[in-house]
């Protein structure tokens, strides 16, 4: 049975949220339907805005590898040493595993 989840600190009922969501969807969709008609643009009108540059579709893709650029650039003083640890050598990775496990066991035993 789906009821209200009570954790002892907080509460959460998915059903009431869904009910609210359905009512809100009807209201918002009604507002949305008051707007102008939707047109699938084609030709020049349908091309993405590129400040007037003419480029083929394949060449305007932004690579997924760029996603975290702002993040990695901001924290590069953290990432650069970490990258150094990624040698690709399995012996190094096992060593890291053993060292970290030892530290965790010492901490767990000590505390």
């Amino acid at each position: 049975m789906i009821g209200t989840l009570e954790t002892g600190y907080g509460v959460w009922s998915a059903l009431y949220w869904l009910l609210g969501l359905v009512v809100l969807f009807i209201i918002v969709y009604f507002i949305y339907s008051l707007g102008g008609k939707t047109v699938k643009a084609s030709g020049d009108k349908g091309k993405p805005f590129l400040s007037g540059n003419e480029m083929e579709k394949e060449k305007i893709h932004v690579k997924a590898s760029n996603i975290y650029w702002g993040f990695t650039e901001a924290l590069k003083s953290y990432y650069t040493p970490l990258k150094g640890g990624h040698t690709g050598n399995i012996n190094d990775y096992v060593s890291w595993f053993v060292v970290v496990l030892a530290i965790v066991l010492i901490l767990a035993g000590g505390l």
Binding site: T4, V11, W12, S13, W17, L19, L21, I31, G35, V62
Partner: protein, 329 residues
């Protein structure tokens, strides 16, 4: 049954309040922003006129866009952001106060941003893709200090009261922490308030944190390809999210009401408390949005990520530690 009725009628009510006051606050913000720059500025009703005009325009869908995602996301964005108001006190108890807590609100706050990201990716525009990527970086950066701030407050409350609904905004708003902590606690709370006031314009993508849109740089970014009613829905969604963020700040830090100082009938008390809530929300928006966006220029995305992960996160943890010290001394 009563709760079902409450959630149906309440959904209509919060939709009306969120949209009307959100757009009104947007108008006031633009007017004050203009005055601070020695301009006359648009009338406070300008956002209503903007929405009306957008709804009169054609809704263009780019040739290579994923149509259903492109058109659905503006609607889902507005639905999800209004749904948060069901759990947030606005001078009176939240409509679904007993059916959702602050953790739920934290997750719901992410939904409008996720909708914008999906809509941006679906629009097939490189500018929108760059904007969506920036929005994702902002999301993974501001979540941590925001979570630390909220958890710190609730954790401190749990040391004072033992209740089964301590995470609900109704409980937090009914038990202001300022009255129950010592010197360390007051300093810690002031620090956490400052953190939340910094996170608010970031959550709302306002200058200097508007990198996902950045008109002068990536031509509107996420919204570059949006027009007509789709753009109108995102516009309203942004306005409602402003009310939501202000409401959360008010509920966490300034939940005080003034109706107890008068002896009016109860329904008048509700009106007075709601009006006072609107005033407090306006003050929060003025301080964290209007003043900030008038005073600063846009930051770069890596500067924002660094600021959030290093100084703001450290500050929020200091606030948390001070609240902890308050329980020790």
């Amino acid at each position: 049954m009563i709760l079902v009725l409450k959630s149906v009628i309440g959904a209509c009510l919060v939709a009306f309040i969120g949209i009307v006051f959100g757009l009104l606050y947007k108008g006031i913000d633009r007017k004050l922003h203009a005055h601070m720059q020695m301009r006359v500025g648009p009338p406070v009703t300008q956002p209503f006129k903007d929405v009306r005009k957008l709804f009169l325009k054609e809704n263009l869908v780019p040739e290579n866009a994923v149509d259903w995602v492109f058109n659905l996301m503006p609607v889902i964005s507005l639905v999800s952001v209004i749904s948060i108001l069901l759990y947030v006190p606005m001078g009176v108890d939240p409509i679904l106060s007993t059916k959702g807590d602050l953790i739920l609100v934290l997750y719901l706050l992410m939904l409008p941003a996720v909708c914008m990201i999906l809509g941006g990716f679906a629009s097939s525009s490189p500018y929108a893709t760059v904007g969506a990527q920036r929005e994702m970086v902002m999301m993974i950066s501001y979540e941590f200090p925001l979570a630390v701030t909220i958890i710190a407050i609730v954790w401190r409350l749990s040391k004072i009261y033992s209740a089964s609904n301590i995470f609900t905004l109704q409980f937090i708003a009914a038990h202001p922490l300022w009255n129950n902590v010592g010197v360390f606690g007051v300093i810690g709370l002031a620090i956490l308030l400052a953190v939340l006031l910094i996170v608010t314009p970031i959550e709302l993508s306002k200058i200097p944190f508007d990198v996902p849109e950045a008109e002068t740089e990536i031509a509107g970014g996420l919204l570059a390809e949006y027009s007509g009613k789709n753009l109108g829905m995102f516009y309203i969604s942004d306005a409602v999210k402003t009310v939501v963020m202000a409401s959360i700040v008010v509920a966490l830090f300034f939940p005080y009401n003034i109706s107890q100082y008068f002896s009016f009938p109860q329904y008048v008390d509700y009106v007075i408390d709601f009006a006072f809530f609107l005033f407090k929300a306006f003050v929060v928006i003025f301080v964290s949005v209007t003043v900030v966006r008038t005073s600063f220029a846009r930051l770069k995305i890596d500067q924002i990520a660094h600021m959030l992960w290093v100084p703001v996160t450290i500050t929020s943890i200091i606030g948390l530690l001070l609240l902890y010290l308050d329980t020790v001394f």
